[in-house]
């Protein structure tokens, strides 16, 4: 499942990221890499998702959030 399909408040682990090199560079730079544990803070309708990962609150637009595969814990 991808990031947008998770319930807000839940914890999860990133299992894979896909996209072009530019996108991969940006998510890696902000700390979203395979195997990292995170907490999904907000996931409302058309808004970007909000997640907490490596002590950082990250806002991620929805189309990009769908490219991040996760496993809920």
């Amino acid at each position: 499942m991808n990031l947008t399909q998770m319930q807000a408040g839940g914890f999860g682990v990133v299992t894979g990221v896909s996209g072009d090199a530019r996108f991969l560079n940006r998510v890696t730079g902000i700390g979203l890499t395979k195997g990292v544990r995170f907490q999904l803070v907000r996931n409302d309708g058309k808004m970007p998702v909000l997640l907490y990962c490596r002590e950082t609150l990250i806002a991620l637009n929805r189309p990009d959030a769908q490219r991040i595969k996760v496993r809920a814990e």
Partner: protein, 617 residues
Amino acid sequence: MKTRIALLGQPNSGKSTVFNMLTGLHRHVGNWPGKTVEKNDGSFEYDGVRYTVTDLPGSYGLTGVSEEEQITASFIRSGQADLVCILIDASQLERSMYMTAEFAPLGVPAILLLNMMDVAKAQGKTIDARLLEQRLGIPVLPFVAAKEAGYDRLKALLAKELKAPHRLKTAPAALQRERGSDVLSDGDAKYRWIRSILDGAVVQRTRPFGLCAFDRIATAPIAGKLLTVAIILAALGMAMLIGTPMSSLGSAIPKLLREPIGRMLSGWGVHPWIVSVFSQLLPNVLCFSVSMTGYVFGVSLVLGLLEQIGFLARVAFQFDGLLSRIGLQGKAICPILMGFGCTVGGAFGTRVMDDPGQRLLTMAVVWAVPCSATWGVVPVVARMFFTPMETFLLCAAIILCTVLMAALAAWIFRPQLTPKTLRCGMIMELPPYHRPHLLQVLEESFHKAWDIFLRSLITVTLVSLIFWALTFSVSGSAEDSLLYRIGVFSEPVTRAFGLGWQTFMGFLSAAFAKEAVLGTLNAAFLGQSSLVDAAFDADAAIGDGTALAYAMAQTVSKAEAAAFLFACTFQVPCVMALSATLRESHSVRWTIRFALFYFFGALLLAGLVYRIAALFL
């Protein structure tokens, strides 16, 4: 002797605070050669030696394709810095160390500044800086950027390291690849290296994250948008309030200088042209520049505070979905709303955007927003022709048109300003709230306002001279001016857009200053005052509106009046906005393109309104 220092860090690492505190007022804002990214250089003196500091553009890494990352990487690689001071946010240690991992292969002398130690301590985190030092091979200094106390130690360390520099210890092979083929495995290797460095050097409690009460509202879908808009509008009010004393001072200048200078020069028997330039044009240039500076100061102050507090990131989060439809980042909502106060403030407010292409695109959009001066003209002229109800509907139509014009401007300029290959959705950090450093924001706003004052003097003088040459006539009668001849000459064409020569002159003057419109109409329809008086001394030239209303009603139909109001609203905002856009975009080419778009766009729109209105009125 080596004296060149560069500051490197991710966004929100406190880099600009360190830069400002280190250099104080000894700084200079320019551009990276051939780029639209701003370059901040400064210097400080320590122990009798002057050191230079370059603030590198903030980015999350060094191997990406963004303009900022490429500038930073090539600057460091070119050896233009003798020492790089890497800033790390101690409260987000693991993630912000990523920049260090990206920096490692470059092999340039460095020190590590562990900023926000106070926040880290409040999180219950302890960091063994000595152990980190041993593992990294470069000095590690725990730091609180907002506190003055640490800067002496920082300066001493910088001076010492410039004499006897340290480089990062050789890192694992995966780190050595600067631009690997596989971003993901490189990224993994970098975070593994970071883990190995931090392992045992950091003790922290991990606990689930919870939004603070304010953020629970600020990030909510509907309540958050209302709250955000309310806060930005309050900030706009504050900015206008702060700017008002300056703009009153500005408008007092022509009143004070005009008479005495005019009398003195006439007494010397100087040619009336020169008298007019010195007694009318130049005091007015000063008036414009001073009032503009006031707004810039106000906007810079409030947006600077909102930025430092961390609120602007929430704004970006809220409006990203809406504005991405016309290709803008969420943060663009700030300058756009500021534009309702004053276009200068709006153009200047685009500073909150980090991407240069996005900044320019937002400026293009901000020009469409009718400023408060426009609202001082449009309803007044509208009431000369229409009932209150019709005036209200007309104003509503103008607001609706604002959205259309903004979208059109974005649609036209977007392909070049943000090419498809560089477009990306929002991926950003919402930083924790910080107490703002008021003195620093004040100082910076003062600096920016002074800078824009000096630069605007030139542009405003140039454009004013052109407009003066168009309006001046020795006899004082409007019909002896160049503008009159242009108006009459082009009337066969402008008629098609619903504008006669008088209203076309009004339209032209709207590009100079919205305040000049009523005066120009007065001069054109009644011929009682000269056009120069109308343009450069708006207050004196307006007089009693009833005579103008009567004269206009004789020659201008309702449909033509409606066309004229749309034309004026979406005309180039004013000479000050033009000069602010030129200053902020660093691009004559783009400023001229925007001006052409709005000039012809407003004319076409007027033509359209004229045709449609002629059916009903």
